[in-house]
Amino acid sequence: MKKKFLIILFYLVAVSNYAQPDNLSIQLDYATNLYNNNQFFDAITEYKRLIFFDLSKKSHFKAYFQIGKCYKAGAKLDDAIKYFALAEMNSNTDDERLKSKIEIVRCNILRKTTTRAHQLLDGLESSAFSKEIRDSIYYWRGWTYMFEDKWQSASDSFAKINPYHELKILCDRVEKDKVSVTFATVISYILPGAGQIYTGNYLSGLLSLGWNIVSAYLTIKSFNADRVFDGFAILTLLWQRFYRGNIQNAEQFALEKNIGIANNTLIYLQNQFKGIKP
């Protein structure tokens, strides 16, 4: 009888205590719910609460990582990187460590601190993880090059994953569509207006050519008529001005066109691309 009584007592105590909900996991669920509902500021508060009360540090990695994601969603990339680094410090497995490092790379890409992103990717490449995550390294390096406006390098990087990679084809198309700034400048030296026509600014190119022809004619006519002062005045105030302007415009239009092409692609990547983005 006593034995039965003690066994029943033991059972009741054990069950009653184990039946208590784990409040830290409830807190984690609550914070994650806020995150899923895009209430990032409040989610950070609840993750911080979890970190504060979780003395065993079991959920620290998850909480820090999620805080990093919240800051990233709020475009507060400096804070995001800080918390991903803290997540890395509190990681328990190689997978978690890697996940944090990749997130830091992604934040650096978004923040356009691409030099840092390259450094981190170099670190990953030379690390013990490199074989498993090789494709991931190439992928994010490609994105880094795209944000640096280096489309050929990006194409080469994506090609290492797959020669027919979607992003490789995209980068090749961008590189093909771009105009050569050097070529535009050089042909403008030879024929005023040519560089502007090459970049698609036909009216500007024709007007520039016209002004150069007119000022050249007036200059030569002045010198021929021994009106040297007039000749020099027209040369410096007119011809030189429009000739220099033609070269500046050719370079500027070429750069603007290239920026336009790059930006159109980046807008597509931001809004319509279905793959993993930074």
């Binding site: 990032f40 990339l77 500007s204 033609n246 603007e256």
Partner: protein, 151 residues
């Protein structure tokens, strides 16, 4: 061992910067980071209240831009450029006052010895010289330190 040391140093640096974190003193919402490359030069033309003199001046400025100014290169050391300054001045202060403001600006442009001890700098390397400082209304003046770079 070295990587752990680097991580610890990095974290200590982060912790020290934590103490000065001011991001969360105002509640914020989700925001997307733009992928696009910044175009350094903002549009030079800004519209003010449209009046008849302003419309006429803008029209001639656009003609001047199309046939001359957009073709002879970037010659003005100021931001906004002199022609845009004229348009904005007329918009701010009317035709007569705007013309006088432009006249003064032209004289200052002819000064070959002007420098960054006189004007703040716009981010593209030009002297920042907005028309609202020259309307003879003390309240409208926004003083900027000479040499300081304005965004």
């Amino acid at each position: 061992m070295l990587s752990r040391f680097l991580i610890i140093t990095f974290i200590l640096l982060l912790q020290s910067s934590c103490n000065f974190a001011q991001t969360d003193w105002v509640k914020w919402n989700a925001q997307e980071v733009s992928y696009t490359i910044d175009d350094q030069v903002k549009p030079n033309k800004t519209a003010v209240n449209q009046t008849f003199p302003l419309t006429v001046v803008s029209f001639f400025r656009n003609l001047y831009g199309l046939f001359i100014s957009d073709l002879d290169g970037d010659n003005c050391p100021f931001y906004p450029s002199c022609s845009n300054f004229f348009v904005q001045s007329v918009g701010e202060a009317g035709l007569i006052k705007g013309s006088l403001m432009f006249s003064d600006r032209f004289l200052r442009d002819l000064n070959l010895l002007k420098g960054k001890n006189q004007y703040p700098l716009y981010k593209i390397g030009k002297f920042y010289d907005p028309p609202y400082n020259y309307t003879l209304s003390q309240e409208k003046i926004i003083y900027q330190i000479p040499g300081k770079v304005i965004d």
